[in-house]
Subunit: 341 residues, 2 copies
DNA sequence: TTGTATGCGTTATCAT
DNA sequence: ATGATAACGCATACAA
């Protein structure tokens, strides 16, 4: 009994009276070994408390069973919920998830992609399409399977699982316009380098143009994704003259901030001003009144992305992109535009 | 030029006209190599696009520069915010964070601990003290450095960074009692296997006893941590006769659910019923009125935990536990107890 | 300061 | 079905 150091295949092999190769087989393809020896080996593994060494395994098998996920932020139920689904699905397939968050910073994202690849990630989950050609080149040269989630666009060659941000926002904007709103405020994340934000903005413009409005009818504030910033941005919009009759927000978190801004200014929602969000996370239902938003199937997206990642890693043949549907959820924060100028 | 396969130390060594050992040194302790050769080697690394193989490195160095973190859930700003801090701090020290979530399930947590250890995690971040002796034995035998976060108790031997859940809840309860509340409802997570929930409950009892109340004055509902469950649990408490004059919740998410329940029942907060939370996450400020809660320094906790993990991994000498302070935040949801029976 | 040589623990190839 | 053995790519003790 060697103590102090962990048991190895060798120890197990000796204990079970077989070769190391057989031990390895018992672990990786038990179906090819005789039931009898399998039992003996497993017993040895148990009594010795053997567990394969990760590094050695990765070195020999050229695979880590690890997939990396890089999200813009963890502090947001949107990605957290999706990631939880990713992790669950990966675990079921024997893989582990490595996450990191880029703080919505392309530079950091690039660095983290490199780090995760260096850490031996077999595949990568990325959010949104927009990133530098260098990074995509890097992934392609290294042949790292990767899927883009939270975004979908028919013309994008890379495997993706997501939804059409532009169409979804357009649908919401059409409802909004149908309520008679003509002076529109938009609180959005920084659009540069963020195709989701960009497309939501474009979707809004689509609807506005179809209704005979132009960019002049839109006041816009770019900000980072947190409640306080949403509040500040909405405050700025709501103190303009003329005041927008509706504040559409790039996500529910910003919308929650906008609700606070309205409260501060003594404006009632939706009588004085309407507010809309995007994502339909839990916060949408705790606001008073509840938030009109776009429902996005985050869990489903996470699951599908994980499956795709696993398939791509095993098959190497590029998977087909998946487009998921979204749904406009009408709740109390969206009402008719006030008639007063 | 060998194509199709990644360059190795050997390739770099040949290209730079040095030995593999020197290449290794250039990467791991550049200060011991001559500036001139260092430059040559770095040039070779660049042109070849060399990156160390993770598995080989882990195998040879017996270290992965990876630390695992297991949290009860990712779908909750509480842990998400802390984890983001952990990740940031680890990254600064050249380590990567492996996360997984246990869904508040001890069995899953145990399995994930084993998985992360098998994945070569150098150290582990755990939430709360309470887990089976087997798991602690496992960690001790394997000599896996680990720190417990989100909890602190003077009598606990294991390194921890957190706060005194019991004292914090007691402080909040004292404020509540000072508002005249005598019939108290508690919505808590399942206490068994969750020392945080357990201690918050005990803290409440401490305050109640000090005020001359007993367990009879407390109605209690155990539930899982999400808004809908919080709503249901609070609904159950609020339809009891006599109705509690305050619903204290194990965290802000449950409190958000309680707010919905109150709204459903046509009860105004805090005129008809007061509500309190715990954690002070963003949701606390978007509720109307804003939520009275206990502020917990999540980011600070994450940072400290990460530092501790790194120190323990490098030093092996057990670090000292850190107790962080909390603060009762009085906001609109806590008011005087209604006088009507 | 640099090079040589060996070990790290597995998996996979090729026999048997 | 099982065994022997050669990679796998790097770090490091030891030599020079």
């Amino acid at each position: 009994m060697r103590s102090g150091t962990n048991p190895t295949v060798n120890d197990v092999a000796t204990a079970a009276g077989v070769s190391t190769a057989t031990v390895s087989r018992c672990i990786n393809s038990p179906e090819v070994v005789q039931p009898d020896t399998l039992r003996r080996v497993r017993a040895a593994i148990d009594t010795l408390g053997y567990a394969p060494n990760f590094g050695a395994r990765a070195l020999a098998a050229k695979r880590t069973n690890t997939v990396g996920a890089i999200v813009p932020t963890l502090e947001n139920a949107i990605f957290a919920r999706g990631l939880e689904a990713v992790q669950r699905e990966l675990a079921a397939a024997g893989s582990t998830m490595l996450v990191s968050s880029s703080s919505y910073d392309p530079e950091q994202e690039a660095e983290q992609i490199r780090t995760l690849v260096a850490r031996g990630a077999d595949a990568l989950l990325l959010i949104g399409f927009e990133r530098s050609a260098e990074i995509y080149d890097f992934l392609d040269r290294r042949k790292i399977p990767h899927v883009v989630a939270w975004a979908f666009a028919p013309d994008q060659p890379r495997p993706a699982v997501g939804f059409d941000n532009r169409a979804a926002m357009r649908a919401l904007a059409e409802k909004t316009l149908a309520f008679g709103h003509r002076r529109i405020g938009l609180v959005t994340a920084q659009r540069e380098g963020n195709d989701r934000a960009q497309n939501r903005w474009l979707g809004l413009l689509d609807a506005m143009r179809a209704a005979g409005l132009g960019e002049d009818d839109l006041s816009l504030q770019e900000t980072v994704y947190d409640i306080e910033s949403g509040r500040a941005a909405a405050h700025a919009l709501l103190t303009r003259d003329p005041r927008p009759t509706v504040i559409m927000c790039g996500n529910d978190v910003l919308a929650a901030g906008a609700m606070i801004a309205a409260r501060e200014l003594g404006l009632s929602v939706p009588e004085d001003v309407s507010i809309t969000g995007f994502d339909d996370i839990e916060i949408a239902r705790v606001l008073t009144p509840q938030l009109t938003t776009v429902h996005v199937p985050h869990r489903e997206m996470g699951r599908r992305a994980a499956r795709m990642l696993i398939d791509m890693r095993d098959d190497a043949t590029a998977a087909d992109s998946v487009e998921l549907g979204t749904e406009v959820i009408l709740r109390g924060t969206l009402g008719p535009a006030p008639v007063t100028p």
